[in-house]
């Protein structure tokens, strides 16, 4: 098979197919004759393996097969193996035979063995071991193979005489059966006995020619390496650090290459006019161009470069004074750095759209307050009025005139007593809103009635910091302070415990009212605290500052802020928590209000979840101020914002 191919191939031909076929045929020191012999030998051996009965000596056969496997090993391990085995000529021949035609032979013997699988499975053991047994071995299922009744010599002789073809029969001792040799096989055997190649079409001389050609180096098996035609003359800068072996070596930055303008005879467009040159003188030293292109008609007329020394000096300075540092760039997907936050859609409802506006104030609305049921809101403005509004219809129900800037308004959290506290200048007024039926009105009037005599005493003695006064004009009480009052809260207290929050310029102090002691000091790290709000559960506080930062404190966690949200470019004017929804908001002088989702978990192991939800715009800037106050509707996820543009807006979900 392989031989027929080889025959057709010319000795000097360098076809790839041939190369492949002979890849493993390394040039050897063996004589060509030995090669020829080995080839024959190999074939013989293959045949012999198939028809074991034919070989005279079983033991030698076994030995050969073992040798064969060794030769195979040596072949795979290369030349060394080959030299080891070459000490024995015969063995070397065999190994050589393996080398010359490894694939073909192996395949042939394998396939022939596959065709007729041996019945016996004892393997290559001396068969004498079974000579005295009744079985010759075991079949594939493990059953004993019984010996056939041997014909005695006479019978066999008679059979030999009777049957003219009996000479073809060969006894296979291994499988204990008679095998009849076909005509073709006898021919093969005869050729082998004569010392020829087993197959008639095998041309020994063609093979020898190939072997000779390989030895002379006419047939090459390796593709010639393509050498790159161009290469970096001075080597690659990037790889030079590897060459030097110093880990810390960093190549110097290259100086800029000269351009056309630095030519001795540049095109006219590069030459600056006289005016341009003059204008360079007016420029700053830094901005002035370093080089002014000039024309020279010939190389001869070029003067010496006056800056040569200076330039090379500066270059040297650059090279050895500039620290060169490897900057490690880490490739991180910026998206992966973002915290995994739930989608806004899943956090609905939250205020998003402004549907209602409360119009009526003439000047900036300083403060708003919602009534507990969410039916009414009150607002104080710098036009000196306090207004009472119906939330649903935006109708202004009532107006109180004070004539002075109203700093702060606050509803009584008790729904039974609709009383409004208003801080105006140095006074705090408690106002009867006039809401409710006669019964509540009676109670409110009772509450707001102050015996004038005691009030006079207080104000006369000036013992306390403030004094109570009956205020007939506004149907309420007037509390006179000596200093301007900025903020009134009915209880800026802890919702469940008797804790009281006081914010100073930088810190928030937490007092226990029962023990009258400072229990905690929250360090905001802010420039100036402007507002504070306590979560309805009581353990979380948000603080807004004048530098636009919002701090969330988890009181159980630490006295440092749990999160600082830098969202507003201008002062935060107020922060607010929603009473029932997990929402909080901040409003700022940049005319926006931010709404956040602020979920506090009852599980102490879980930190509060803060998700920014919406930026509410709509207010106009007025006198440099934007939104001055924001309050949540007590029962709906709605936000009221009070603007310096004298509007109050309601953002609904």
């Amino acid at each position: 098979m392989g031989a027929s191919k080889k025959e057709s191939v010319e000795v000097n031909k360098k076809e790839e197919e041939e190369n492949k076929n002979r890849k493993k045929t390394q040039p050897t020191k063996k004589e060509k004759l030995s090669t020829e012999e080995s080839l024959l030998h190999k074939k013989q051996e293959d045949r012999a393996k198939n028809y074991k009965g034919f070989s005279e000596d079983d033991a030698s056969e076994d030995f050969k097969s073992v040798e064969k496997s060794e030769a195979g090993d040596s072949e795979s391990s290369g030349d060394e193996g080959f030299h080891n085995t070459s000490s024995n000529e015969g063995l070397a021949n065999e190994s050589q035979s393996e080398d010359s035609e490894p694939d073909q032979g192996g395949e042939e013997s394998d396939s022939s063995e596959d065709e007729v699988a041996p019945r016996n499975t004892v393997g290559d053991v001396p068969l004498e071991w079974y000579r005295d047994e009744k079985h010759i071995g075991y079949d594939i299922t493990g059953k004993k193979l019984k010996k056939k009744e041997r014909q005695d010599k006479l019978d066999s002789f008679l059979a030999n005489v009777d049957n003219s073809k009996n000479w073809r029969k060969i006894y296979d001792e291994y499988n204990d059966e008679d095998v009849e040799v076909t005509n073709e096989e006898t021919k093969l055997i005869r050729r082998m006995l004569k010392g020829k190649a087993p197959h008639g079409d095998f041309d020994l001389y063609a093979v020898l020619g190939l072997v000779r050609a390989i030895r002379k180096g006419l047939i090459k098996f390796d593709k010639p390496k393509e050498e790159p035609r161009f290469y970096m003359l001075w080597g690659d800068d990037a790889s030079s650090s590897e060459k030097t072996g110093h880990l810390s070596y960093i190549p110097a930055p290259k100086p800029n290459l000269p351009g056309h303008e630095e030519s001795y005879n540049p095109s006219l467009e590069y030459i600056p006019t006289q005016e341009e040159i003059n204008s360079y003188q007016l420029m700053d030293e830094e901005d002035r161009p370093k080089f002014i292109p000039k024309r020279f008609m010939s190389l001869r007329s070029i003067p010496a470069y006056e800056n040569a020394v200076k330039d090379s000096f500066e270059r040297c300075l650059d090279l050895y004074l500039c620290p060169r540092v490897h900057k490690k760039r880490i490739n991180i997907d910026p998206e992966s750095l973002k915290p995994k936050l739930p989608s806004r859609k899943d956090l609905k409802p939250y205020p998003a759209t402004c549907y209602l506006e409360y119009k009526g104030h003439k000047d900036a609305v300083m403060s708003i307050s919602t009534e507990t049921s969410g039916h009414w809101i009150a607002s104080g403005s710098s036009d000196g009025t306090v207004r009472l509004w119906e939330v649903e219809t935006c109708r202004c129900i009532k107006v109180w005139e004070f004539g002075e800037v109203v700093q702060y308004v606050a509803w009584n959290p008790l729904p039974e007593l609709p009383v409004l506290a208003v801080s105006v200048g140095q006074d705090v007024f408690l106002l009867n809103t006039g809401l409710g039926n006669e019964e509540t009105q009676r109670k409110v009037k009772e509450l707001l009635h102050v015996a004038t005599s005691t009030a006079l005493d207080d104000s006369g003695n000036k013992v306390s910091a403030w004094s109570w006064l009956q205020d007939d004009k506004h149907e309420g009480i007037r509390l006179q302070h000596f200093k301007t009052v900025y903020s009134v809260e009915w209880h800026l207290f802890h919702p469940t415990r008797s804790i009281f929050f006081v914010s100073t310029k930088k810190n928030v102090r937490v007092y226990d009212l029962l023990k009258q002691k400072l229990i905690k000091k929250l360090e905001t790290g802010l420039r100036e605290v402007s507002s504070i709000s306590v979560h309805p559960a009581g353990d979380n506080v948000i603080v807004g500052s004048r530098d636009g930062k919002l701090c969330w404190f988890d009181m159980d966690l630490s006295s440092k802020p749990y999160k600082v949200l830098k969202c507003h470019p201008k002062d935060i004017t107020n922060v607010a928590f929603h009473r029932s929804y997990p929402l909080f908001a901040s409003c700022s002088d940049d005319c926006t209000a931010y709404v956040f989702h602020g979920m506090v978990y009852s599980d102490l192991n879980q930190n509060p979840l803060i998700v920014p939800l919406e930026i509410l715009r709509g207010h106009a800037i007025s006198n440099g101020r934007g939104v001055l106050d924001c309050k949540f509707h007590p029962r709906q996820p709605w936000l009221f914002t009070a603007g310096a543009d004298s509007l109050i807006k309601l953002y609904c979900h």
């Binding site: 049921s373 219809t393 709906q636």
Partner: protein
């Protein structure tokens, strides 16, 4: 006739045509011959209307053109015919049956009737008069635009809702008003008497029991009971004592008159209270004797059994609701609007779902009122804080008509006489738009 049309149209460039047949439920003068004709597929509603009008004109020379609306498979055509068929997946191969109805439009607008303050409530359930409530604490009765016949005096807070209780008798009419002064009042007046000056009426009965502003009042069909929703989260049921105990009432009244001439008012207490809402009950509706529907700021619509005093079912909407009305097909569809610009309609008979079956979202602000037409199965109107009044047909997602007569928020609206729409708003006007041919 039909061939003439085709001849006319053939002059145009090659275009698709559809075979149609016009049918109608209208009375004879509006009928066209029942033959199928081929019309261009790109016709719009106007084109269809022109064809029908010319068909009618061929039958009757005196015919005055008027707009029509067209229904294909129960849906109003609002796109060019071709697009409509494509969108609805209707085959244009067979003869298409197009039903035409008279187009609904606001044709006439009366001079607005001015009030002294915001008009917060309006009721047009009696065709003889319009009842309005106002933020100046007065109720008013109007015979027609600008003709005020009675003024209802007595409330100490703005009136939030009004309802005609009984208008059976020609001489005596009973009405109920709800107010922010936490009371409801019942009034009786003689509708027939006429004078140049509106006569002042005092309530004959004050209903106390709510602890906060009363937002809404609704009357049972027979007029013997009313219910009211309030900011105190409750619904109270009251007996009107009009039909059944008329005799007693009169006698008590007389006796009282003897004692104190001025204090001729009765005080009534709530018959029962329906508790369940967690926020302000903003609207109530009493369509059947045993069932009350209520809408609340707690985002729910509840159905109450009157006898048991329990809520049978509730629909959650996600937004605070401020108006509710039940009507339409089988008088069972719930229309409600609230703190967003979407008018939602639910069918409570559909089991296992609380998703609205229709959502109309052409308004720009809160919806303040919605009312079904009393006779039509498809028509309803809505009023919004954006100052617009819209007429809706369930068969299309676009409003049939938009009335822009108010300058500010519209607070209340109702149908009147079946062909007019009345509305009141922050601009203190009562607007009457008439000539609406719903049926």
């Amino acid at each position: 006739m039909g061939t003439d049309m085709e001849m006319d149209m053939d002059g145009d460039v090659e275009e698709r045509r559809v075979q149609v047949r016009f049918i109608t439920k209208l009375k004879p003068p509006y009928r066209v011959p029942n033959t199928s004709i081929a019309i261009p597929a790109n016709l719009t509603r106007l084109g269809l209307s022109t064809i029908v009008n010319s068909l009618l004109k061929a039958g009757e020379d005196e015919w005055e053109s008027q707009p029509f609306d067209f229904l294909i498979d129960g849906e109003l055509v609002r796109l060019p015919l071709e697009q409509f068929l494509l969108a609805k997946g209707i085959s244009a191969e067979k003869v298409l049956e197009i039903e035409y109805i008279r187009a609904v439009a606001l044709q006439k607008e009366d001079e607005p009737s001015l009030h002294d303050d915001w008009v917060s409530a309006v009721d047009g359930s009696c065709p003889r008069f319009i009842l309005t409530g106002c933020y100046d604490n007065l109720g008013r009765v109007w015979r027609a635009a600008g003709e005020c016949t009675h003024v209802l005096e007595g409330h100490s807070g703005a009136i939030t809702s009004v309802s005609v209780v009984n208008s059976e008798g020609t001489d005596s009419v009973t009405v109920a008003t709800a107010s922010k002064d936490e009371t409801l009042r019942l009034w009786k007046f003689d509708n027939e008497e006429h004078s140049d000056q509106p006569s002042k009426i005092r309530a004959f009965k004050i209903l106390r029991g709510h602890n906060a502003s009363v937002q809404s009042v609704a009357v049972e069909a027979s007029g013997s009971m009313i219910c009211s929703g309030s900011w105190d989260c409750t619904i109270n049921l009251w007996r009107t004592n009009v039909s059944d105990t008329e005799g007693d009432l009169v006698s008590i009244k007389k006796r009282k008159v003897k004692n104190k001439a001025e204090e001729s008012q009765l005080e009534g207490e709530a018959l029962s209270t329906l508790v369940g809402h967690t926020q302000c009950v903003s609207s109530v509706c009493w369509p059947e004797p045993k069932t009350i529907y209520s809408a609340s700021w707690d985002h729910s619509v509840r159905r109450w059994d009157v006898e048991m005093g329990k809520d049978l079912s509730s629909i959650f909407c996600g937004k605070p609701l401020s108006c509710l009305h039940v009507g339409g097909e089988g008088s069972a569809l719930i229309a409600a609007g609230g703190s967003d610009p979407i008018l939602r309609i639910w069918d409570p008979r559909k089991p296992g779902t609380s998703a609205p079956i229709y959502q109309f979202s052409s308004h720009n602000s809160w919806i303040s009122a919605c009312k079904w037409h009393s006779k039509s199965l498809f028509h309803l109107l809505s009023a919004s804080y954006d100052g617009k009044l819209m007429l809706w047909d369930l068969r299309t997602a676009w409003p049939l008509a938009i009335a822009d007569s108010h300058e500010d928020k519209v607070l209340c609206a109702d149908w009147w006489k079946g062909d007019s729409v009345i509305s009141g708003g922050v601009d203190s006007k009562l607007c009457i738009s008439s000539g609406i041919s719903v049926l």
